[in-house]
Symmetry: C2
Subunit: 350 residues, 2 copies
């Protein structure tokens, strides 16, 4: 713990929500503030007090910033004037909970601040494997890992030899779904929003092919170029015109797993789809899913990916900004695709 000792009162830099928003979050919807915190769990509490090391930038965080009239059921909402929260990696400094001790490394829901008192540590996972980068517990070994694993293995039931298309393919989840499908022996093509990301997919992540959707005037034609015989499985993260073009290019009995539709979240009206009829005509199965329902897969995820990570058979590309004060820009950048790989914020070293 170095300079911080249990019981010390220290400065605590925080990222605060200014007010509820409509539309995309902007950097100034958040601001940095400094309060004080005592590095100690109150007597009789079963909270834990942690030092935050890495914080994850996730698209769903914007939902939690929304004005009441734009809200979705099933989400809790941030409180203006208080620090936002999200997934992160942290070190326990003091614990009132029998499952955690000072010195433990954990991942799970924490706050965007240097130190956090976490009242419900049941939602934290103790980190057992530290021979891999700790930051991976915001990505391949955390929530995005569970999403990708569930999407490919449980929701999609992807099988060897299938033709797989992945949108937002260089992102936190997409890069993993593509590599999982490749490990299964599939033909895998991804779409992304820049030439640099396309190169990453083809040269570093082992995709069979990739294209920049921003440079395609006709997404249907692009998909026909890469999938002349059609798509067996589509891992959907963007929605809108991409989904509409994919529906035209699915094989009969194809499957689509939807974990998000980032292109549609903040449009005044979502884009109109013309090709939904193909769900019926092609007898497609379209499944929405969330990692929230798949945490039981976490041990399987670790068992599967840890050896691959150690043997360098799985690559995980991270876009790490240093310093909590750079967190708001990093988070906001997600919605214009500014990130290159998994976006996260390094708050402190262990």
């Amino acid at each position: 713990m170095g300079k911080n000792n249990v019981g010390d009162e220290v400065q605590n830099k925080q990222v605060i929500l200014r007010d509820y928003i409509t539309g995309y979050p902007r950097e100034d919807d958040l601001y940095i503030s400094t309060s004080k915190i005592k590095l100690e769990v109150p007597q009789g509490s079963n909270a834990v007090l942690v030092k935050n090391l890495y914080l994850s930038c996730d698209p769903t965080m914007q939902f939690r910033m929304r004005k009441a009239e734009y809200r979705l059921s099933g989400y809790y909402y941030y409180v203006p004037g208080s620090p936002i929260n999200g997934f992160g990696v942290a070190k326990v400094l003091d614990s009132g909970h029998p499952s955690f001790s000072a010195g433990d490394l954990v991942w799970g829901t924490t706050f965007w601040e240097e130190y956090s008192l976490i009242q419900n540590p049941e939602k934290l996972y103790k980190i057992q494997h530290t021979d891999v980068p700790l930051s991976y517990y915001t990505g391949i070994l955390g929530m995005p890992g569970i999403t990708a694993y569930a999407g490919i293995f449980e929701v999609g039931c992807v099988k060897k030899g299938e033709c797989v298309f992945i949108s937002a393919a260089s992102g936190a989840v997409g890069q993993l779904t593509g590599q999982f499908a490749k490990l299964l022996g599939c033909y895998v093509v991804g779409s992304a929003g820049s030439q640099e990301k396309v190169d990453l997919l083809k040269n570093k992540l082992g995709f069979d092919d990739a294209f920049n959707y921003k440079e395609e005037v006709d997404l249907d034609a692009a998909l026909k170029r890469y999938f002349p015989e059609g798509i067996d499985f589509y891992f959907e993260q963007v929605g809108g015109k991409m989904l509409d073009a994919v529906l035209l290019n699915m094989k009969d009995h194809g499957r689509i797993a939807i974990c998000g539709m980032i292109s549609q979240y903040n449009l005044p009206h979502p884009e109109a789809l013309e090709n939904l009829l193909h769900i019926a005509f092609k007898r497609l199965t379209v499944k929405g899913f969330s990692q929230r329902d798949h945490y039981h897969l976490y041990p399987k995820l670790l068992e599967t990916v840890l050896p691959y990570i150690r043997e360098h058979k799985l690559v995980y590309v991270e876009d790490i900004v240093e310093g909590l004060e750079n967190g708001p820009a990093a988070l906001v950048g997600l919605f214009s695709g500014r990130n290159f790989g998994k976006q996260l914020v390094k708050v402190a070293s262990e």
Copy 2:
């Protein structure tokens, strides 16, 4: 066989496609013509020669009338100048096929004419149970029966106690899905396009409730009235605004089975849906399906429904027009919802 004897040459009234169409079929896209036919299977052929008794009017028949640029894969197309075909009930007059003999009653694909020479009788089903109306083999005991049975029991896996919504609920398939769900012990509400149909659903078909979608200014509000806690299973046949409203009212993890979207088939551009995001947020499963993939269920369908029909625990409402010459109007009427129950044409008595 009465007046017709094998070997006779007789007049054969037919319903002929004038030319390929765009948009909804109109009555004058079809015309009546009379040719001659010899009531005999040619030597060495394994065709069967049948007298058509009932012909089924099915929404998908319009696809087969379409101009090339509006076609869907997986359908064969009618030939202008030739009689259209579809499902029907017929009596075998002569057979070159070992599975059929003169006098057999069959259902399956036949032509819209008085007598048909069927070159591939493998697609005909021999009718074994004749203590129920023969016309039922175009409906509850035929293709719509398989669709409804597959939709509720196999695709939807509907369970006792679930909240089930059915659109186009008084139609050939809808009336069955609703009754199947009631037999399973579900709460079932249907939508239809007239007060008369709503009364039918509530008073004769045993639906818990029903509403006329044409009289609802706000479909979302209507669904909230009938499903204050949300919908577990939606049997989708119409698409468009109804589907969009349903997406807002599904429970988390709800299921939607889609066998058609009749409201959308002929729009220049299908209606825009705003609520597809809810597939992801609510982790819905949306499955397109077709009876084509479920013929293996036919024995189970018969086993299930025949006793209920005999005990009057299942009702099947038919809208029968008499005479082949009234077939075009009956078929075209489907697309404006003119039919009251399963639409079919009686061509002849046995």
